[in-house]
Point group: C2
Chain length 349, copies 2
């Protein structure tokens, strides 16, 4: 018989939270064997786990520090488990101790592949987070329109709105001008007329722990011809991607088409002083209990399936002018997709 095993805290390990719906900041042990879920916790967590964890059994660890592996090994042996299924992140140091006890390992990229297929409830949670994200961007754009607006003032308005609404926004991006040439640059300082300003918001609900994710690019006043062309190309790329979305399509097919499209539009992938420019990231990624989940839409072997919730976020980045990125979040449906995003794409403010 085999068993699934996770040794982690459920704050950082999304599979563990998914399997137990029990939030704990300290490591605990999860076993799924013979269709039953159990967790082994310290006395510090025992009472709370008994009430909150959606598992079949909560076991109070009797082991002193450093004896946890022997304790788990005994539980697994009692149930006739020989092979242990673990995540790719499972610790080498721990695996070696289990191997010494006679167990073998099956390492999987996905302990709960069903996590990629969102339930109606999960989609509703993501949409709820998306609505909060859109309200926050509305607030942010109001601040952006005021004289003297900075990356910091716009970000603070967005993050504060989200905090009040029950969401934690980390590293919200408000990057103007050439700063936005780096996709993950948070941005700082004054926001100027005629520059692109990339605003990327990806908050997590404190209640459900699900994320949303959206990016808009705006320009205060008239953009240059080049910036307008970049914006149009990115918007066109997004439409092109939408038209390809359906269950069964490999992410790399989409990635390849988008790369060719940008090339044809006059926005090739180039390099300046060793740093790449153009369309330099993947088309998108799934969103759920983690901001970046599988399946991805990029050069990997992932394939889209009905029920995936993925971002569609083409972008262009050049050192001399900055960046443009437009990102929606969509649900893959039986026939195509449903856009969960409900925010206009207005470039010039």
């Amino acid at each position: 018989m085999n068993a699934k095993l996770i040794i982690a805290d459920s704050e950082s390990n999304a599979d563990l939270f998914y399997a137990t719906r029990f939030l704990a900041h300290d490591p605990l042990i999860f076993i799924e064997a013979g269709g039953k879920k159990m967790i082994i916790v310290s006395s510090l967590e025992f009472g709370r786990a008994k009430r909150q964890a959606k598992v079949d059994e909560v076991i109070l660890s009797k082991a002193g520090k450093g004896k946890a592996i022997e304790e788990v090994a005994a539980i697994l042996k009692k149930r006739g488990v020989k092979e242990i299924q673990v995540q790719e992140s499972f610790a080498y140091s721990v695996a070696k101790k289990f191997e010494a006890e006679g167990f073998t390992f099956d390492i999987t990229s996905s302990l709960f592949p069903e996590r990629g297929i969102k339930t109606k409830e999960e989609v509703a949670w993501i949409e709820e987070a998306q609505r909060a994200t859109e309200a926050a961007l509305t607030v942010g754009l109001t601040v952006l329109r005021t004289p003297g607006a900075t990356s910091e003032s716009v970000r603070k308005a967005i993050d504060a709105h989200l905090f009040d609404a029950g969401y934690d926004a980390k590293e919200t991006i408000v990057a103007g001008g050439t700063q936005a040439a780096d996709p993950h640059e948070q941005g700082k300082g004054p926001l100027r007329k005629g520059e692109t300003i990339v605003i990327d918001i990806f908050p997590r609900s404190r209640k459900t722990r699900y994320f949303a994710d959206m990016t808009r690019t705006v320009c205060i006043g008239e953009p240059s011809v080049k910036l307008q062309k970049m914006y149009d190309a990115v918007l066109g790329a997004q439409e092109l991607i939408f038209s390809m979305l359906k269950p069964g399509i490999p992410g790399q097919d989409i990635q390849g088409v988008v790369e060719k499209f940008f090339q044809a539009q006059g926005f090739p992938r180039t390099e300046t002083q060793g740093a790449p420019e153009g369309f330099i990231h993947g088309v998108g990624h799934s969103v759920g209990l983690e901001l970046h989940e599988r399946p991805s839409i990029n050069n990997s072997n992932d394939v889209l399936r009905e029920g995936n919730v993925v971002t569609i976020e083409p972008g262009l980045y050049y050192r001399d002018v900055g960046g443009v990125r437009i990102e929606d979040i969509v649900l893959i449906t039986k026939d195509g997709y449903r856009n969960l995003t409900n925010f206009p794409k207005q470039f010039v403010l």
Copy 2:
């Protein structure tokens, strides 16, 4: 020659942030070999990493997805590295691939043991976070004194104050009555007179990424004789611990003394329906870029050293009445300790 290797994101991997001071949400590769630090990043992060990462070299990954290990192996071989030093959390799946390339592993509980010894700057960052924590508790206690106060209203006041001050507070505990019998219960509902209310606040600075940590237990109106006795015992335990603090003392010596002290005070460790009661957790833990760092003060083999910043948080928990915990954060000094906490311990409000 050997090399240190981390493959992780620096948001969740504190060693990686410590080594690079570069915050990235997606995995990157860190190598320290021959006294030089380098990171390997994707095109998405290259520009930002070049500007922000405190390392000797930033390498743009040329590898496609899934080829990262071959790329790292080539870099290590070129530098004559045979043995790779990794954290206990290093992934088994990845280690096996490196072993296939002929490398051996040295697994260490601490890749940067110096992280436990805080610099003056780090102590200042923790103290700054501690001041914010204390201001937030002052705000929380004001709300707590108003009629109709709930766990939720007090928590919201605390967390909102911290958010405004530049801190993220996660899972702040405001647990009244028997709820507080579980040390990590967040608490919900009305806060009642004559019950103990445990308030545990542990925010992280968005600027420095360092944590603070403090707990106070209060009672609105007169507590029962038993609750007062519990409070006095916990306060006495904390004083006892303070008197033992100095470089060189093993954490388990302190833990043992405290367990005996509570027993002698009439608060034994017992069990009700399989759930332990009494003093059911460790005396404390180090605080820094993680909330729970080594060295700990508990039954482990950790020993305190000058420069450690540790919590001192004795507590008592009984199902029938609830909990009492008092937590300060202190710096271990050459001669003893310096309390970094500056907040009164007033039980009855």
